[in-house]
Symmetry: C2
Subunit: 245 residues, 2 copies
């Protein structure tokens, strides 16, 4: 793990890093030392590790809770090169949707394919970030919606260090999503947009239903895929405070 820059503002230190070919960013309380909970944020489709929404949420976890937060670019996003195979599949899927295919299963299958790469990448990122002195081997949480949910479900299912997760704006579009969700047993908060134009309501409810967690809460609000209310971010802060502190 190689840090390439470090800046601090308003009580938050931001360090850019590379882990092999994975570009990432780590936010920690400025001047802090010692072990603290860590939240990994998975960005949405077409976004990246320093998307303004990701940065704003990361700063809230750092300043409000004293946690460390990390985010990395998904292959083909942010500072990573275009990914030839993913790009070709995405174009093929787009053509199928234009020819009348249901997008849900295609998206889910594509995300399951990408997850075969991101799950080991993110596990390696956890190893590296938890070796940083002011992060340490504390409890880990995961926050991801939309693509961050599609990739987050198999990640949380595979990674026993994750003790609580916010996963949402995603659906049970393919059997692999349901299978992975059925292996998740940690507490989950699941935001769902009631009028989501990308994720059918029934698919979102089915993914929530498939989670094996004894504690899981669906938060459904009116509005489309991009309209998650601000108070759900407040809710995520409280959720991680309850489960990682």
């Amino acid at each position: 793990m190689r840090f390439t820059s470090a800046t601090s503002s308003d009580g938050v230190t931001e360090r850019l890093f590379h882990l092999g070919e994975i570009p990432g960013v780590l936010w920690t309380p400025a001047g802090a030392t010692g072990t603290r909970p860590l939240v990994l944020i998975g960005h949405g489709g077409g976004r990246h590790k320093k998307d303004p929404d990701v940065v704003a949420l990361a700063r809230r976890f750092v300043t409000g809770l004293g946690f460390a937060v990390a985010a990395v670019d998904v292959p083909g996003h942010g500072d990573r090169p275009l990914h030839e195979e993913y790009g070709r599949l995405a174009a093929e899927n787009q053509a199928l949707v234009e020819a009348g295919a249901e997008p849900g299963p295609l998206i889910a299958e594509f995300q399951a394919l990408v997850a075969r790469r991101t799950v080991p990448e993110w596990r390696a990122v956890l190893d590296a970030v938890r070796a940083v002195e002011d992060v340490g081997a504390g409890p880990v949480g995961y926050w991801g919606v939309s693509l961050g949910c599609g990739l987050g479900v198999p990640f949380v299912a595979a990674e026993p260090r994750v003790r609580a997760a916010v996963l949402g704006l995603g659906g049970a579009g393919a059997p692999s999503s349901v299978e992975a969700a059925s292996r998740i047993t940690v507490p989950v908060e699941f935001p769902l947009q009631w009028d989501d134009e990308r994720v059918p309501r029934a698919a979102g409810l089915a993914l929530f239903d498939a989670l094996a967690s004894a504690e899981k809460t669906l938060h459904a609000n009116p509005g489309g895929h991009g309209g998650l209310p601000a108070f759900e971010l407040d809710g995520a802060v409280r959720f991680f405070a309850r489960h990682l502190n």
Copy 2:
């Protein structure tokens, strides 16, 4: 309105009252004067105004928020006499269910009948309680689940002084429930138990769907009708703090 007793403990004054034939209870911060938000709590079926769950929730709104809280007995409950017509209908419904009828529509029709009486009663209670010096004509909220939802939906639909409501553990069992819900426009928080043995999941989701509120949030958690998690009560405190303060 006639107060019949007043006691104070742990910062909360509790006054029992009668308004005509309606027995009620009013909780306020001990020693407070002047106007404050008021939450009306509707108790569940077979319960009453001083059910331990009602008292505990009322005390949280008083001590945590400085609000006033009122609850009254539904006809046939608590300190009210058995109601001959309701008792007969309930027995008839029970016989129909035992003969194989779907309970949902029967329960909803029964609650709609009772609401014809409780809506005007509760509006009169609001008039009376808001005339008390240390309550006053501040913003009003409503909290009710199960029977408290079945009676609360038509009440909140009819009463413009209610600015925010927690309604849940209820379903769209009859067209009248959906019609009343479609006239509700204030912010609503809607707890739903994912494995509710009394309210079919689809009926609960349909009632949430019918609410016309621009801001409404469904909170679904695993478990049966009686298993509402304690953190949903914390959520109700925050919800009313946000909307009535």
